[in-house]
């Protein structure tokens, strides 16, 4: 199968599947993000989306940023991961201009050491908000905790590939093999489809 036709290609997964809690449908309505809005204001837009690898934290933060941008906020993204665990060098310069109406979305806050985290909190103090994703609670009040389940994975698979070899995959074993990491499970199914034909 050609990569651009693979039902589990990364662009399709990102566009077709939005964040869904285990009992919700993984549709594209951004309903998960909308449901969080009433909780953000009492937290002064300073909160954390918590969860393990592949549980949908980044997708949920992207959905939330999209909703907030639609309500007039300016979104400033910081993306950290194991390949790029540090803040960009010009971050301090940008941070100096943060102010009312700005919300910083920091994906991967667990990458920062305590000093880096303290620096982010200080430099975003004048911004309207700071919303982060992180693997463990504690850095900011928890806005929500992302979890996954075999049933959720099954619904995502049915949505992306209702037919074909992936539809017959034993979902519970797939879920366990990747310790609940839905992203990695979908990557395995990409390989299944790529080599099946």
């Amino acid at each position: 199968m050609k990569a651009r036709e693979n039902p589990f290609r990364s662009t399709r997964v990102r566009s077709a599947i939005r964040y869904a809690a285990p009992h919700d449908d993984p549709d594209d309505s951004r309903s998960g993000a909308l449901a969080l809005l009433p909780r953000l204001t009492p937290l002064r837009h300073r909160a954390a989306i918590v969860g393990p690898h592949g549980s949908g934290k980044t997708t949920l933060l992207e959905d939330l940023a999209h909703v907030l941008a639609g309500r007039g906020f300016r979104i400033i993204w910081l993306r950290l991961d194991t390949d790029a665990p540090r803040l960009p060098r010009d971050w301090g310069e940008h941070a100096g201009r943060l102010g009312d109406g700005d919300i910083v979305c920091l994906d991967g806050a667990e990458q920062l050491d305590p000093i880096g985290w303290a620096r982010v909190r200080w430099r975003t103090r004048r911004a309207t908000g700071l919303i982060v994703t992180t693997h463990r609670p504690g850095r900011l009040p928890t806005l929500t905790t992302c979890t996954t389940s075999p049933a959720l994975l099954a619904r995502i698979i049915r949505r992306l590939a209702p037919d074909g070899p992936a539809a017959a995959a034993p979902v519970a074993a797939l879920f366990d093999r990747h310790h609940g990491n839905v992203r990695e499970a979908l990557r395995e199914l990409y390989d299944v489809c790529a080599t099946a034909s």
Binding site: M1, K2, A3, R4, N6, S10, T11, Y190, A194, T195
Partner: protein, 121 residues
């Protein structure tokens, strides 16, 4: 009701490296746009992170709510359109209209043979 369209000259769907890409972009939106852009680009699709290379961007001056403009863009020599198991490179034109975020995309093949190069393992 909006309508955006990209037509390639002669209804072609494939081009050879270096030749000009000609066509017409037309649109109908509610109000006169503040900007109308035509982008020539390639993107990757597959297992990993997506890469995008914007090769050319053309802006149409003083666009009306219902309008159409001819375009000719020089195509580069590479990368060729290709597909393997892990990655595909896809060429496309995109018409972007603001405000409103209207987008129309037309994909095409760029290769010496006029067909997508298919890599088999």
């Amino acid at each position: 009701m909006s309508a955006l369209r990209i037509e390639l000259a002669g209804g072609r769907k494939a081009f050879t490296p270096g030749e000009p890409l000609s066509g017409r972009a037309s649109w109908r939106v509610a109000d006169a746009p503040s900007s109308v852009e035509l982008r020539l680009f390639w993107y990757t699709s597959g297992k990993g992170t997506q890469d995008v290379g914007i090769v050319d961007t053309s802006s149409f001056a003083a666009p009306r709510a219902e309008d159409g403009r001819d375009f000719t863009l020089p195509l580069p020599r590479e990368p060729y359109s290709f597909s393997g198991h892990l990655i595909s490179v896809v060429w496309a034109l995109e018409l972007l209209i603001e405000p409103g975020g209207y987008v129309e995309r037309r994909e095409f093949v760029l290769s010496p043979t006029g067909k997508e190069v298919v890599l088999r393992s």
